[in-house]
Amino acid sequence: MATQQNVNQYAKAIQAQLTSIVTPVPVYANFNRNFATEPKFITWHLRNVHQPVYAGQYQSNKGIDRPIFQISVFSTTMEDNFQISNTILQSLHGYSGLFGGATYGFQISKADVVWLYNGYDNEINLYTIHMDCTIDIPT
């Protein structure tokens, strides 16, 4: 039997983990017009939170959660963009252990990062790189 995980805890842990990886680059949960003041920053978006549900009448008969959070790196130079993204890749891809630091963290079995694409947004004059990170959470 497995309880439903707390997504609020996920959010705090993702924020804390990303912050610890890229500090002092700011990390935000939403875009929020940060491009107006920050030359480089990161946003993240949590999705695909889903513990498979199994047979029977008991709500707690579930599997593990494997949520995905998308990491978007923004910066005014392509060099910064790739450097920050590489730092995230080196730190997160294949990571196993405490995720989210001492305050908000929980154990994950594995983090799996997929580099989606890079680009440039002419409207905001920022380079962008988008990555997906899947985390396997024992439940």
């Binding site: 039997m1 199994y54 047979a55 009448q57 008991y58 008969n61 599997g63 593990i64 494997r66």
Partner: protein, 164 residues
């Protein structure tokens, strides 16, 4: 409760097992008695299986072919209750999965298992006595670790019940 009178989703089925390491399996007669079976079908006895495999009877037939005869003959015999290979999400501390593991290690423990299927109001029970074998863990990445085992029912020891 009467028999459910609806087409049931697969999700409606739950597997229960008798508790304790040394259970006394129900008698064949009691496997068809609602009061005996429903006592086992309580939340603490639920096995956290992913899906209930096909349950009921195997096909059973004796085939005869005689040389020179135009047709062979298939003679139905008594069908045994079908073996069930089950997958459960593996929590190493789950009380009931530990009992299953113990049964498989022992090999000769007879235990009553119950499958309930409900429409939310009424319930039908399929109860059988069986032994567990082939307990194994599949820890392939990208999903939870799976605990898989097979329950082999004892011959003739099964029954259907519901409270009318």
């Amino acid at each position: 409760m009467a028999l459910p009178n609806k087409v049931l989703p697969g999700f409606s089925a739950t597997l229960y097992m008798q508790p304790t390491a040394s259970p006394t399996a129900l008698t064949t007669a009691n496997l068809s008695v609602y009061a005996s079976v429903s006592a086992i079908a309580v939340s603490g006895n639920a096995v956290p299986v992913e899906a209930i495999p096909a349950f009921g009877q195997d096909d059973a037939v004796a085939s005869f072919g005689v040389a020179g005869s135009r047709q062979s003959d298939k003679i139905p015999t008594q069908s045994a209750p079908t073996s069930m290979t089950i997958t459960a999400a593996w929590n190493p501390s789950d009380t009931n999965l530990l009992l299953i593991r113990g049964d498989a290690y022992n090999g000769t423990i007879d235990r009553t298992f119950v499958i309930s299927a409900t429409d939310g109001t009424n319930t039908v029970y399929y109860a059988f006595n069986g032994r567990v074998s082939e307990f194994k863990i599949d820890s392939a990445p990208s999903a939870e670790a799976k605990c898989m085992f097979t329950i082999h029912p004892r011959g003739n020891q099964y029954g259907w019940s519901n409270n009318t």
